[in-house]
Symmetry: C2
Subunit: 210 residues, 2 copies
DNA sequence: AGCCGTATGTAACAAATGTTACTGCATCAC
DNA sequence: GTGATGCAGTAACATTTGTTACATACGGCT
């Protein structure tokens, strides 16, 4: 495990801390689609992402969903962090977007490490900052963009985190992420296809030029 | 100043830290409408709010605005925190919602205090947590609610932070905060008036029952 | 009172998004 | 092959929100 930690977090965290992570962390490998966090559940450990991507969703009382953002290699989950610290229920849902490798850190280390390691404090603050920015960018999208631009942005993000220009999703799945209906997504995708930006197949979308 | 600090933060922060705040902080009193942070500007100090309320807005490239949330007594600005730490431009705009009293802390204290004081770390983490939750609640509103419910929520928040059931705003100002048009707000307010929930006057709205 | 600037009311229309319903097509199990 | 199932295409329509245009009302000022 130690080598993977070093590769991903070596430039961020000091050696002594990497060693501690190696000792107390648990390596975890999850398949695409695995539900890492259920909305409303309590969280007992926080993930450091080694590879793959995690998508973070907001879920309302009626079970409606909305994609907030993706986490990638080198990221951690700010919501988990803060839930650990204030011991609250999770407000979000986390699903493995791709097969992913994680290291799970028991939450009781959090307070110790923030006191002891400057690099850990910086890492945690930076994580919060990034998530806050991403949340605000999500607000931007919903508030300021029309659905066609939101869809474009979604496709862009998707090919980035999956590192693949083919998106293996049904229109319905995309509709859930953007909190709209399947018909709307089909309509807009068709428009994009006519504009030569994507090619539509069954269960997948090839992004040609965005 | 020391007394006001103690009254507002005494239960949160340890005495030694309160004393430091007293020494390095600058007391600042701003009138309603004062622009504390311009979008795109760099931030040199962080505010602790003693009294009053601050509204935090997102502003896009075209100058369109959207209310993110209000800060109140005992709060601090998480965006300022994180901008200080990563030395980035502000992504937001802050306006005094009411007359307000603040203590401004030079940013170079941040790193020292997070290392030195456990209570400060907790305060900072809690602030981040609250802001992230509020940002996500804003996302909820925009994504899951129709404009009439968003308006209701807005009026509720407004009477809470102002501690006054009369809202002294024009329809146009409300429209800016919710990123819609004046006509839409007038229309919906009229509907609320017919439902007996508000009473409309020139330049102000009495909230009767929400 | 008469005037002016601003705020509000309202109608009519436009655009974006959501909904329902139905079609055809591919795939899979049998 | 047949039937079942799930996905995508599309039309027709409903609803929500945004836009334009104009009328009216209010408050302060002279």
């Amino acid at each position: 495990m130690i080598q993977e930690i070093k590769n991903n977090y070596g430039h961020l965290l000091e050696d002594e801390l990497l060693e501690e992570i190696n000792q107390v962390g648990t390596f975890k490998e999850v398949p695409e689609g695995f539900e890492l966090i259920k909305a409303g559940s309590y969280i007992k450990s926080m993930p450091l992402i080694i590879s793959g991507a995690i998508k973070i969703l907001r879920e309302d009382n009626d079970g409606d969903e909305l994609l907030l953002y993706f986490l990638e290699q080198g990221d951690t989950c700010a919501m988990t962090l803060s839930c650990c610290l204030v011991n609250q229920k999770s407000e979000i849902k986390a699903i493995a977007e791709t097969d992913a490798k994680l290291i799970m850190i028991p939450i009781d280390k959090m307070e110790k490490w923030t006191a002891k390691y400057k690099s850990w404090r910086n890492f945690v603050f930076e994580s919060y900052h990034k998530r806050l920015i991403e949340a605000i960018e999500t607000i931007d999208s919903i508030a300021f963009l029309n659905m066609d631009d939101r869809l474009l942005k979604y496709l862009k993000d998707k090919i980035k985190v999956n590192q693949d220009h083919t998106i293996n999703n049904t229109h319905q799945q995309i509709a859930y992420d953007l909190h709209t209906s399947r018909v709307v997504i089909s309509r807009l995708l068709k428009k994009l296809e006519k504009a030569g930006k994507v090619k539509l197949n069954r269960n997948n979308i090839e992004v040609l030029d965005i």
